[in-house]
Amino acid sequence: MDNCMGQNKAQENRTQQGVTSTSCVGVQGARGGLSIALGATLKRDLLLMLRHRGEVLNPLVFFALVITLFPIGISPDPALLTRIAPGLLWVAALLAALLSLDSLFRGDFDDGSLEQLLLAPQPLAALSLAKVAVHWLLTGLPLALMAPLLGIMLSLPAGSYAILALSLALGSASLSLIGAIGAALTVGLARGGVLLSLLVLPLYIPVLIFGAGAVQAAIMGDGAGAHLAILGALLAASLALAPWGIAAALRISING
């Protein structure tokens, strides 16, 4: 109450002078400015995605649907399903992650926020990394957590569930990073969605090989450590390189 009154009074004062907000033109970007900007971008994107829950749920439903199609299309024979389950789960998860990729920058591009993101006095690579992190948190991670459930339906042997989830969690992070380059390249195009998959899918192949390989190795009892290590290495490499690619691609797309 007091606070409110004080504000009103101050406002009156300033109105009398014909001035309300007195502030200085100045250089921002004090130390810590980047972390504030990153935090706010994370928060904003999470908030937006959580307000449109459909966009979060759609890839998950798609994942479940595709997995349902395979036994119907091939055979319900558990022995056969066990054999092909690692690959099926990985391919379906990859496609589901791809599905949501197109909207990564599209909303921001359409309403002009992307221009403003590019003009922020912060490194664009870091800001775009924040956006990719949100994409992974709300797409890759849920897919990874859901995969063991679908693994049961494909009669995946019990010992490999943890490896399946872990490999998907690690791998989908690389997928989000690599895919974001493609999304950034196609965001300015009216029908970029199909093109996006053409650009991105060939680049996904190493991740698919080692991801599905990890699950396969876990089933065989070979130990999936090596595969997971390579997936981690791929993630580290994409973390180091992809942000620059995303930033360069966004600058191109904003040029139209």
Partner: protein, 246 residues
Amino acid sequence: MWAFIHKLGSPKWFYTISAKLQPWFWAAAAALIVTGTVWGLAFAPADYQQGNSFRIIYIHVPAAFLAQSAFVSMAAAGLVFMVWKIKVADMAATVIAPFGAAMTFVALFSGAVWGVPTWGTWWMWDARLTSMLILLFLYLGVIALRGAFSSRDSGARAASVLAMVGVINIPVIKYSVDWWYTLHQPATFSVTSSPAMPMSMWLPLLIMVLGFYSFFTALTLMRTRSEILRRESRKRWVRELVRETR
């Protein structure tokens, strides 16, 4: 050195200098390819395992080499274009892309044809063929991305970025596919990694590879020249050139 690069960047200078270089590359390409073909098909000895069908190597291997080199040179041209804004580099990248895709297709097709006598089927998920297939998709992606932009400059820059991303990924893809292949088909006979080719088989192959590279250079020069004329058609020097040749 610096002045040289920027001079090379001027379309007019490139146009004149490439006119002088072009015939030499065409001549070299013709000589090498004819020699290599005749030598490889008629005089090289037949393979003790595969008989005469191995001779398809004289098409398959040079095409596969070129498919990969063309991608790398396309990415290099893209880098030059992005960093120094040299337009000729982008014109070269534009004309290399379809050529590289065509070479990839030739490598795939000859590989498939080779598969018939060797494996008894048109297609095997052989490591080399699989990587080639992925390379073809990468080429198609670059070409499609360039075409999708309404502004040529943006398309050029986008294609350059994608080519660079692709070129970083090609070794990763290649090694992971090799690894995947050995995991799934450990004991299959691989066509091209047959040990220690005798000199009489190897030399014509080398000649063919060199011939293909000369052909690639000559064709790239020629098509870049026409691309220059197309893009610079409003510039004064092109108009004068047209007037002179009439």
